[in-house]
């Protein structure tokens, strides 16, 4: 299946993952892509490029900010950083995601009694 935007992730999931990753440490686009890939152990098929529209959306929303800087490999890169608004957003999203997941899990798990 060829789909330019991975619809197998529900809307907002990519943003959530990006924010969660950036919360730990500011990163530039490439590093961010690698990190998500490695952490998910390649379970999630994310096109590296699809990060960029998501990042632009979050820049516009004010959840992240970006600055040009020099990377560890001595390359001019744009480093993204979570803003306080981004932090608040991701916390809210994660708690609502967890609730949803819990709900789904309960329905999918066969009743015990």
């Amino acid at each position: 299946m060829k789909n330019p935007e991975p619809r197998d992730l529900f809307p907002g999931a990519l943003e959530m993952m990006i924010l969660q990753t950036l919360k730990r440490k500011p990163l530039h686009g490439y590093a961010l892509a690698q990190h998500i890939k490695q952490t998910s152990k390649d379970l999630l098929q994310v096109e590296e490029g699809s990060l960029y529209p998501a990042l632009q959306r979050m820049l516009k929303e004010g959840w992240v900010k970006a600055e040009w800087g020099i990377s560890a490999t001595n390359r001019r890169v744009r480093i993204y950083q979570v803003t306080p608004a981004g932090r608040k957003h991701v916390e809210k999203e994660i708690s609502s995601f967890e609730r949803t997941l819990e709900g789904i899990t309960r329905v999918l798990t066969p009743a015990k009694s």
């Binding site: 330019p4 935007e5 686009g29 490439y30 892509a33 096109e47 590296e48 490029g49 699809s50 960029y52 529209p53 990042l55 632009q56 959306r57 820049l59 516009k60 970006a66 040009w68 990377s71 490999t73 390359r75 001019r76 890169v77 744009r78």
Partner: protein, 888 residues
Amino acid sequence: MSAFKRIFRRGHLYSDLSREIQEHLEEKTEELMAGGMSREDAITMARRAFGNTLLLEERSREVWRWPTLENVIADLRYAVRQLRKAPGFTTVCVLTLALGIGANAAVFSFVDALFFRPLPYSQPELLAALVAHKSGATRAGQAFSEDDNSHDGETWELVRDSVPAVQAAAYDGTTGVNLQTDKTVRYVEQQKVSAHYFEVLGIHPIIGRSFTEEEDRPSGPRVALLSYALWKSAFTLDPQIFGQTILLKGAPHTVVGVLPANSQTPQSADVWTPLQPSRSGEGSGNNYSIILRLHEGTTWQQVDAQLRPLHPSYLIDFTRGQKNGEVWLQALPLQQDLARPARLPTIILMSAVGFILLIACANLAGLMLVRVLRRRPEMATRLALGATGAAILRQVMMEPLLLVLTGAGAGLIVAVGILDFLCKLLAPEMLPVGGANLDLRVMGFAVAVSFCTALMIGILPALEASRVDLRTSMGANSGRSVGEAGGRRTRQFLIAAEVTLTVVLLSTAGLLIRTLVHLKTLPPGFDPSNVMTARVSLDDARYHDAAAFQKLLNTSVAAMHRIPGVESAAVGLSLPYERGLNNGILVADGAQAGTGWASSAVYVTPEYFQTLRIPVLMGRAFTENDTSGSERVAIVNVSFARQYLGGEDAVQRHLKTSKAGPTLTVVGLVADVAKRPGLEQTAPLASEPTYYLPGAQTDQNMANIAHTWFQPSWIVRTRGPVSSLAGAMQKALEEAAPALTFAGFHNMRDLENKALEHQRTEVILLAVLAGLALMLSLIGVYGLVSNLVTQRTREIGIRMALGSTLQRTIVEIGKAGILAAGWGIAAGLGLALFTVRIIRTELYGVRPHDPVTFGAILILLLAAVLVASLAPTARIARIDPASVLRSE
């Protein structure tokens, strides 16, 4: 980030993004190469892992866009391109719209100034006019209800003294008077106003003060206030003007103030003097207007409650003379009172220009429809490629919107021109206080009208476009089905609608033209050719005494006589086509003895009837022998004899001007002349009961009062055209009476035009607009049929090939236009029968449902429609069936 900042920073954002993506790809490539891959493979691999670079970059950019706006801009560009490809169509549309919107904006500025814009006074919402609200039945038995704003001295005193809720002021109409400065005499407009007049309006003199109550008492001191313009022109802005004495009306007046340059009084004047109101003289009749300023915190109900119990005797007289008549005093917002004379004409004009715009809209909607239908295949393609219906609609609407906005822009320039034209055309009393101009409210109106116009032009084509059927429109040779059934029906409906409005306009204009023709062809009752007249103000202290007045009449008439080429000369208090002085008269003998009437009264010198060639039907004209010492005599006109003397032989009957006055013997009966009625305003020109008195026997008190309102006219009849007659008359007057000046020279045609100015203006405006409507409608009909011929060339070719005659084909095609217009004419005649009732009060000598007018309109329209429908079918004759079939 604000949307605004974003748009301007976008270039920056985009380049950042491209560089970032580039860096990402390079980093990946390098990493892969470090893992031992060849450069080419690494690049390919990096690309694959990244995804569709272009698409992702586009997606990223989209985040920053304002998609609706940018799509709109794209549509706008498209519309501009489309319109530039059709310069003829675009020019016609823009010009039509410029004219339509411009005319509406210009006329609306009058509506605005009359009804909506606050008057140019402080707290104008507290200003009111005092009116007597009368209702009852006219002599003809018709129910009426009117607000009369003229009052007498008794009413003024009652309102001044017993209505604590308001500050009141009274004023008089304006009259021309003589102002003498150094050696020159000027004729200036004077208005008499009471104390507090300027306070009520909120106008404060820039020099000095307004009139005090002391100055406003009968026979109070002679004082004057100057307008800024007069102060400038006659006194060169002399700062020492306060307290100076000026020679006004032949008597010294002390200047007590100058008004500001920009002050706007309800009636404009050059100089103001105290009204000095009383119950006698001027105040014995309804000659005052009264304005009120409500004290702050007072309600209109409170004011009316204080006015209601007042019963001046003239109101009691009214109820006595009326069956079931009712009358009471009330306060009417000043704006409403001032707008009254212009109300109906303005509404008529606004409706007429509104109709023009609607008609233009119908035409343009038809043209747009054709364009949209022609683009059907293209739209179908776009729909098939995934465009939404809304996107198509937006694009269809863009063209009319663009046209209207361009048209509106040009329309504002047109509006300035039309406004200027109207201000010059309309009589001063029709112009609103403070003038009409294109202010913000008018601009707002123009914008609103423009959007409605765009909607009206665009909505039908848009609806048509939304009905695009993919399969038929995209089929091969789709050009064939274009414009059939749906489009034609819609266009026919539009044509019918515009013809309907045209009929309404034509009938209005037609009836007004008939009215003017009626008034213009009324028998004047005298010979207007070779007559020159000139008015002189005798509201002048030097001529208040009988001897001086008599001497002036005698010597000036004699001097006029000596002008070469002059056949006869006379003086009269009023002329034909002018209003006369209303005066009471008592019949002293016969069956009508003791009855009193209101009549028009004119003093004249002996040659008056001869000079104007008013036929003396019985008895004699006045002669030199009718002097102050001889028997008191009078001459009456036919209307007077018929209405007041029982139609019997009038000569040798006896009249009295008042119970105590001398008895007058009627010595002659003269023909009626057309006058502006002063007794009953039944028509702009009519015959009125009139009696004439010899100038030599005039009661000086009556003359003095009459001279405050009327300027008598000097009249000469010449044998033929006399060069520089005006100069010769002025010299003759100066010979007889130094320091008197004529206030303009008029021949009888000028006076007639002045009397019919309102009617003429209405006819000019309505005839132009109705003509425009007719032209636009015919263009619409022509366009419809012409378009049908183009669209159905193929069908026509086949018909002819199959043996249809040229005639039958022409009728078949032309029928569409004739039918549409026919429905419009029928509907229009029906509608006009109702709308003409609105202009009933503007019609004289013609009934609203005048069969001649309506018959003429019907014939004119039918003929015009026939021509407009059949002219474009001439092309059918040139269609060659063979070539049409070959091109299949």
